[in-house]
Subunit: 242 residues, 2 copies
DNA sequence: CGCCGTCTTGAAGATTCTCAACACCAGTGG
DNA sequence: CCACTGGTGTTGAGAATCTTCAAGACGGCG
């Protein structure tokens, strides 16, 4: 599935109506485009003065490792998502990022970003909104790990990922492509790949959703949402009714 | 224990050297001060157009509830911490906040904040740094919940909290006041109060740390850090060596 | 075909939770 | 002064959840 418009503009467009000047400013963020192979590391925890990116195509995993090798994926970044902005002010990257698929990325420096912000306060606000939204997603993941059990966690994750992909035209209400392996589901949900496998089986047996051949198909969205106790405050566009 | 200088200035001061003009700008953030009783709700998930706050004194819990009553505390806010900034751009609060102790808070609107940012870009940068640091703390909590087991989680949390309190003069290396109940430790660490109790007993039996009468005392900091696999990338001030 | 990475399943074990009972302590009112 | 109370902390036992280890199945690709 290919997004019809530039995913970043599409995503920010739900926050404000982008006028041509705004689109031109966003285009400056996409001036330098690079390609990255699957399994390549974009940056690592502790790196200094890293670049910032926008994902144009492909999937990125942001993660942290413990000393003994345990890995926790913080979040996946998909088309339209920013990457590495937090490192800008911290000056040190607090996490690593790796390419789960072949990627197309736009690259820019903090300096370039500041220039655009100075010229286009509307765009700046929209970018800050996107950052806030990403933070809200991480917070919801925290709740997921802390207070939901395996099956609920997986259900929640499947729905949320679908909602994010739909915003950039990469999902319908009940289906999307998903390049993750079960191990990556495990590492984002704080479980083992084996338990993820058993949880997917339960979802399948209960006719809620299936994951097969890198494709998620949701069979009973209502019950899946109920199981996950999903609510979309954290993803809802600002003007939307309660 | 009372902080000697204003906690916000003290905290931001580790990011940049605050000149008198900066301090004056920060003072504008502390123009309106309110007091809040223990157990009072500052704002709730779903609220619109909420205010922003700086904690001057006392402890706040930011949390989310599931429909069935399970609670996950996202983070505790202490002296010098901002509160409610994420809701500014989302326009809807994605979490609730409650007073764990009697509080002194300064209150301000998004509009006031924008004015100060326009006049004092240095302060704006420092505030964004603080926001990034808070986000890094949440990310580290995510790793804590996803990939550390109970005892390691508790150890990590004790050390991190001590580090944060020390920045605003409310802790020494091995001791601090902590108004939390075991239930709040449970809700921030994704465990039950009973398991927290057993974990504290283990820490005590192994002579690592004790929690008694709302006071944390660390007996063997080195081993505690080792147990937690703690590293302070996410709290380290920007200029500090690797 | 054979190989490698991934998925699947079973069984046993570790971790954490639930339920239930009791201990401790500060405050309150008799 | 003491009994009572409500909130919190402590402990044990059994159950639920999740992990670990081990083995085999599947499927794409050389």
């Amino acid at each position: 599935m290919e997004s019809s418009t530039a995913p970043l503009a599409r995503k920010l467009g739900q926050y404000l109506d982008l006028v041509p000047a705004d689109l031109a400013a966003l285009a400056r963020l996409e001036a330098e485009i690079i390609e990255v192979d699957r399994h390549d590391e974009l940056f690592s925890e502790g790196d200094r003065d890293t670049s910032c990116y926008v994902v144009l195509d492909g999937w990125v995993a942001c993660y942290k490792l413990l000393e003994d090798g345990r890995r926790q994926i913080i979040n996946f970044m998909i088309a339209g998502d920013f990457l590495g902005l937090r490192s800008l002010l911290l000056q040190v990257s607090d996490h690593s990022a790796t390419a789960l698929t072949r990627l197309r990325l736009s690259v820019f420096s903090g300096e370039q970003l500041r220039e655009i912000f100075a010229d286009h306060p509307r765009v700046a606000t929209a970018v800050f909104w996107a950052i806030s939204r990403d933070e809200a997603i991480v917070v919801e993941h925290l709740v997921n790990l802390g207070r939901r059990k395996a099956l609920e966690r997986l259900a929640h994750f499947i729905i949320e990922l679908g909602a994010r992909l739909k915003l950039v035209g990469l999902a319908t209400d009940d289906e999307y492509h998903c390049p993750l392996r079960q191990e990556e589901f495990a590492d984002v949900l704080g479980l083992t790949a084996i338990h993820i496998n058993r949880s997917f089986r339960l979802l399948r047996e209960q006719q809620l959703a299936v994951f097969h051949r890198h494709r998620i198909v949701i069979h009973d969205r209502r019950r899946l949402i109920e199981l996950a106790q999903y609510n979309d405050f954290h993803l809802a566009p600002p003007g939307s009714p309660m």
